[in-house]
Amino acid sequence: MILWWIGDIVLLVVVLPVVVYLLRGVLAAATSIVPSVQSIASVAAAGSKDLDSAALLLTTQDQATRTIAGVANYGGSLDVILDDAS
């Protein structure tokens, strides 16, 4: 009889608070992850949007190629026009 009551007291005073404490910790950890994941998602979306102009690098590459070709032609003409230093 006394053992039954002791078991009840242990359940109510020890087991139940421990279970609640542990579960609250798990819930707090899981809840704290949610805003972090949402912020990461927004940052990833913004980063993806920022890279929309990466396609313009193809134009930049073409322009750089043309510019260097023009500089090379101009340098060749200068090489003919100007005297060497030595």
Partner: protein
């Protein structure tokens, strides 16, 4: 009769305690499940965004490498041309005149250039000035003493160097003579002469007289 009642009371308390524990488990575990579902949805969005980033940034490395190779080739060509035409010392001075302090780093393809003390060359560059003069442009030849102060303030502009040019260009540019018009639509047309470069048809008078006297002297004896 009291014992079964006492046992039932303890049993009821036991059952109540177990129900409380199970209720706490259900409440918190369902809350955790809801939070994990939100996390899953957020991670799906993250994966989608990261996938777009990876897809969009995939060609960046190749393109930037190609652009850098092109620019490297341009820098190599221009450095080589500058050193070839101006000499390594003047080249360092010109670079330092345009970008103050750049001579400390030296030219990329000429490691020894970092040790060269850059001469003070600003807008007025002797060799370039002579080249301009040879090409028929206005050039401030000998307008300034190279031992004097620096002509061009690289941080505040180059108005001082303009004063080296003829004054009419600065104050009365409308009085500058107009550039000659050339081409088929030019107001003055010059006919092409066919005799340029050919042997002379008539001897000059002095040369003819000298030739005659020489011939007469050789016949007299």
């Amino acid at each position: 009769m009291a014992l079964p009642l006492a046992m039932s009371a303890a049993g009821v308390v036991m059952i109540l305690a177990v129900v409380l524990i199970v209720a706490a488990l259900v409440f918190y575990l369902v809350s955790v499940i809801v939070a994990l579902r939100k996390i899953t949805v957020g991670l799906d969005q993250v994966i989608a965004g990261v996938g777009e980033i990876v897809e969009k940034s995939a060609p960046v490395n190749v393109i930037v490498t190609t652009i850098n190779q092109q620019l490297d080739a341009g820098v190599d060509a221009l450095e080589g041309l500058l050193v070839k035409k101006a000499g390594i010392v003047d080249a360092v001075g010109l670079v330092d005149g345009l970008y103050a302090g750049a001579a400390a780093a030296g030219l990329r393809n000429f490691p020894d250039s970092a040790a060269i003390k850059p001469p003070r060359i600003a807008e007025v560059y002797t060799r370039g000035t002579l080249t301009l003069a040879r090409l028929g442009r206005e050039a401030p030849i000998a307008a300034a003493n190279p031992a004097g102060p620096v002509l061009r303030n690289v941080e505040a502009g180059s108005l001082a160097a303009r004063l080296l040019y003829p004054e009419v260009r600065q104050s009365r540019p409308e009085r500058l003579s107009r550039s000659p018009v050339i081409g088929t639509a030019a107001p003055v047309q010059y006919e092409q002469r066919d005799d340029i470069g050919l042997p002379r048809k008539h001897m000059p008078a002095r040369a003819a007289a000298a030739a005659d006297s020489a011939n007469g002297a050789s016949r007299e004896p």
